[in-house]
Amino acid sequence: MSRRILGIETSCDETAAAVVEDGQKVLSSVVSSQVEIHGRFGGVVPEVASRAHVEAVLPVVGEALAVAEMEGPDLDAIAVTHGPGLIGALLVGVSAAKALSLAWDVPLLGVNHLEAHLYAAFLEEPDLEMPLVVLLVSGGHTMLIVMDGHLQYRVLGSTLDDAAGEAFDKVARHVGLGYPGGPIIDRLAAQGNRDAIRFPRAMMADGWDFSFSGVKTSVVNHMRHHPDTPVEDLAASFQEAVADVLVTKARRAAAEVGARGICLAGGVAANSRLRERLREGCAADGLRSFLPSREMCTDNAAMVAAVAWHRLAADGPSRLDLGAFPSLPMPDE
């Protein structure tokens, strides 16, 4: 019998809800973004985000159920992101999920946001072969993960300082381009020369970890000493440096673990140059590349409901005293 799970996601600046059947079929996926609210602050303001989630969470859940043509009590589970993320923001989703679980007498399940990002790919490509290398790149995370099977991961490396998306935001802010930095830099870079400036590729040859604070500083310093540099060239050269490091390491990881393919996940996976470089690199290495749609890269609740289907079968539901954990690590087995 098919199982329908409601997913709820409020870990950062998107309030999202979705209904997914059997971890596979998206019956609805609703995302309410706060990006315009935070734009004037140049980044996500935790207290502002938490307040906005309180207002949005029930309308978003209501719409997700309506689109899926479901009544709450008919759900098989309610899954909610309980970490990592902004604590105040997470607590809104967790509180709502628990209240719905109590009121409708439906099992509750706490979901790891990072693990959910990995499962976004499976919603669009159910037959992804493993072992699979996943490059999880977002505003808060940069991780190189090997997925050996469902719910089986090895974290090879992560960022030692800034996350990739954070570097985009900070560069954009320092150069006065606005927020969010990712899409703005991507757009400008399309008009620029990516070989104009050679920015450093930190730790490209050694280990599995990443560091992006150096390239960010180089961009800021370059702009200070050469204020006449066209921002298009700056954006393209910076973006190239980031994509170069990410793709080079992911390809090396795939070769090392004998992966069948490389998959992108997280908000930075929407970056067009990163997608292009990964596609080319995989083609050259005889690997499958999987590039989820923009909707599946950024935060959404369909991925929460998708991973919940696997987790529920493996671990069973969570208890009602479920907490929220801002630094919840990727489950590493």
Partner: protein
Amino acid sequence: MLILAIESATNQIGCAIGGPDGILASAHTIRPRHHAESLAPQIRFTADQAGIGMADIDVIAVDVGPGLFTGLRVGITTAMAFAWALGKPVAAFTSLELLAAAVLAGDTDILSVVDARRGEVFHARFRPTATGPERLGEPAVSLPADLAAEIVTESSEVVLVGDGARAHIDHFVDIGCPIAPRPFDLPSARTLVTMAASHPHRLMDPSEVSPLYLREPDAKAKFGNSPGGPP
């Protein structure tokens, strides 16, 4: 009419079930920073003690603050979601009127003072009436010294209540203001049931409930811990 009351505006997390005839069951715990963990199990426990099912509840009463932002959001989100899921109305009360209602006696004004942290207090003044405390003026946030000066100017007799008065007791003892005993320092879910039972006209749709923050958010962007969103 069966009321489920949810209280988490301060360090105290509370839940009570009852109606016009009294309280069937209640539970209160003090677990700072654990509002979200404690509240839902407490609701189930209280319902079990009262011997009722969730569907038996007619009204959800909630404290909308002012108080601790995170605690408030946990309580309000829980109340809204619970009411919405069951198709029931919400009765919203401020922490300040709940404090006043619990100590109301005679005809002396009550000044409710909730700890706002950062050396400030949330406060409002109430006058006793036959139907409960009637608020005089808008709830506000002030420095305790300024509030004490205001009390002196007003010159009419007033009794203070709340953890804000307790935390800054020196300011108020100096001007000779009595403070209600310690058991009344924090708003309770039991008072919420009583207030909701005696104010049936205060019912609203869950979508209309909103927290009373009384303070603008710190507009400081946070980097490095945002797990997602656009790059």
